[in-house]
């Protein structure tokens, strides 16, 4: 397999593995926690390294995952004192733990082969150099296997505990009453986030881990209203961002991880603008539509109120009505044209009159507003 192919496979695996717990981080409004965890795990790795003196020991992953959970715990503890808000608590805990790691690394730089730059940005281009060998036979890049394993863990976690994750995220109080401990589910999810971050940051760096964990789910959230589709779409979008990002990087000959993170932002922006259900364009045109429809209702109701009364000629006169409604001429013409096209009104002797269906519609709209539900 070519290294180019391997890099893209790694990127897709990492993207999907990150998006699975990422969906629940986004729905729990804990996006920034991924930022903290992807950095503070470095301290876990450094401490683990000093305990076992090896950079390849699985003990490092345990230490890092533990540090991720400690990060969440410390943040919540600070937040629970009510003296510090949750975002501020993250702002305290994350730089503190991360910089302790940096200080240790810089002090013992000669003995720790950890490069702080690659922690942030990763070096996907080097990932294929690190081979997985079984009985001396090269079976592909190591990252494919390590991240593949994490992907399987995450998939199993989300599939097996789908119902529990859903209820603990949507309604923690009900989850508690029904006997599903939201705290247990919460910390399990945070452990999964930490393990994923440890596995992924070595190859892709923490910035890309955040982009994959948060960027793809948020993008999917703009497209779908269904939790299962949101999970599947997040994986697809993440994978797509990885491949597009790689193509962009080789085309421009720039950082691979950087390009993938940029693609995540670009794809989000495109969906944000053009999404058919929740996109900016849809929302703007829907608002405009609502404004016109409401103005139509108001106009019909106004005519209905003055129908057959002596002031009708003034109140509903085609030349005088704009003084009464305080609308500008252009807007009034637009509304009148709309209603005439729908045969809700007609004009007779320069007075706007309701048609039979227009009158019914005005009465019905009024009743709807009054009765609620």
């Amino acid at each position: 397999m070519s290294p180019q192919m391997e890099i893209q496979i790694i990127a897709v695996i990492v993207a999907v593995a990150c998006s699975l717990p990422g969906v629940f981080l986004v729905l729990r409004k804990m996006s920034m926690m991924s930022d903290a965890i992807t950095h503070t795990i470095l301290l876990g790795i450094v401490i683990g390294f000093f305990m076992v003196n090896s950079l390849t020991s699985p003990f490092l992953i345990v230490g890092a995952a533990l540090m991720g959970v400690i990060t969440v715990f410390l943040t919540e503890m600070l937040n629970n004192t009510k003296l510090v808000s949750e975002d501020s608590a993250i702002g305290i805990v994350f730089p503190l733990l991360f910089s302790i790691a940096i200080v240790i690394i810089s002090k013992y730089a000669s003995s720790v082969h950890l490069d702080t730059d690659s922690v942030l940005l990763g070096e996907l281009a080097f990932a294929p150099f690190n081979r997985m060998k079984v009985f001396g036979i090269d079976i592909g890049a190591k990252a494919i296997y390590s991240m593949g394993g994490i992907l399987i863990i995450n998939l199993l976690f989300v599939i097996i505990f789908f119902k529990e994750l859903k209820i603990a995220t949507f309604d923690p109080a009900l989850a508690t009453v029904l006997g599903f401990s939201p705290a247990l589910i919460h910390y399990s999810l945070m452990t999964i986030v930490s393990i994923t971050a440890v596995g992924a940051f070595e190859s892709v760096g923490s910035i890309l881990v955040i982009a994959f964990m948060i960027g793809s789910p948020v993008t999917a959230y703009l497209i779908t209203d269904n939790l299962k589709s949101m999970i599947i779409l997040s994986g697809l979008i993440g994978g797509l961002n990885g491949i597009l990002g790689y193509q962009l990087a080789s085309f421009l000959d720039v950082s691979i991880a950087g390009s993938m993170a940029v693609m995540t932002g670009v794809v989000f922006l495109l969906v944000f603008i053009f999404s058919p259900s929740r996109g900016l364009l849809t929302i703007v045109s829907r608002r405009k539509r609502q404004k016109i429809e409401f103005a139509g209702k108001s106009l019909m109701f106004h005519i209905y109120n003055h129908e057959g009364k002596e002031e009708e000629a003034l109140e509903s006169g085609i030349y005088t009505i704009k003084e009464h409604l305080q609308w500008n001429e252009k807007f009034l013409k637009l509304i009148i044209k709309e209603l005439k096209d729908k045969e809700k009104i007609y004009i007779k002797d320069d007075i706007i009159k309701l048609t039979e269906s227009g009158r019914e519609y005005a009465i019905k709209s009024y009743e709807e507003i009054v009765s609620g539900f």
């Binding site: 309604d171 009900l174 779908t224």
Partner: protein, 244 residues
């Protein structure tokens, strides 16, 4: 232990920091009543039911359901939180939210079965929301949200229901629909405890009432304890105007 009471609260004190919200509350609730918990803002109404449900840890005190601990009786207890306590933008539909009420019965890991879905649909029919089953929950009005929550409580098939302000933000039609369902539940022997705000409807809706202001001012049948004097005591310190 007294078997005449389905719920017994003993010496319950709940405090936030050093400020007591509930102070030495003793409360006995008989079976098959529709009970309002009434009191001024900050009187501890929601806190009382949350502490009874083990959602808040009390400083002291104990609650018995059928003479046993909450944990052993969990399956018999239904809960309807305040509707604003959840995120209505959550990506799911009405039927799915109602199905959540079955999760306790289903247990860990297992999936809802056709039987559970049938129960959820029946509950939606009951609250007149069946045509909204596939509707996105973000598209519901306040009244519809509350009906969905009621349906979710109904599928729990509990003996005791706790409801936190089910009439908040709902239209008159929904309020009437909810109360008629609650009255029907009571007729079937269920016990329903409702945090309630509107003093004017207490006599019409409920047969039992607890007047609460940090302590229990009075509790008993509405006809006996819902008196002007007790109300004055309950709302005395707050300056909130009484309108009956």
């Amino acid at each position: 232990m007294n078997l005449d009471y389905i719920i017994e609260v003993e010496d319950m004190t709940v405090a936030y920091e050093a400020k007591p919200v509930l102070w030495d509350v003793d409360l006995n609730i008989p079976k098959s009543i529709l009970m309002a918990v009434v009191g001024p803002n900050g009187a501890g109404k929601s806190t009382l039911i949350k502490a009874m449900l083990d959602l808040i840890k009390p400083v002291s005190g104990n609650v018995l359901f059928n003479g046993a601990s909450y944990k052993s009786q969990r399956k018999h207890i239904g809960y309807v939180p305040q509707s604003e306590s959840v995120d209505w933008d959550f990506p799911t539909n009405v039927l799915d939210v109602v199905l959540m009420g079955r999760y306790g019965e289903i247990g860990w890991i297992k999936r809802p079965k056709e039987e559970d879905k049938k129960k959820a649909r029946e509950a939606l029919e009951k609250v007149n929301m069946i045509e909204f089953a596939d509707r996105q929950i973000s598209q519901l009005s306040g009244g519809q949200q509350q009906r969905v929550f009621l349906a979710r409580a109904l599928v729990q098939d509990a003996d005791i229901y706790f409801m936190d302000e089910p009439f908040k933000g709902v239209d008159a039609k929904t309020e009437k629909a909810i109360i008629s369902i609650l009255k029907e539940l009571k007729e079937r022997g269920k016990t329903i405890i409702v945090v309630h705000h509107d003093l004017q409807t207490v006599e019409e809706y409920f047969d039992w009432v607890v007047l609460l202001n940090t302590q229990i001012i009075a509790s008993g049948p509405v006809s006996e304890v819902f008196t002007d004097e007790n109300l004055r005591k309950t709302y005395r310190s707050t300056g909130q105007i009484l309108k009956r």
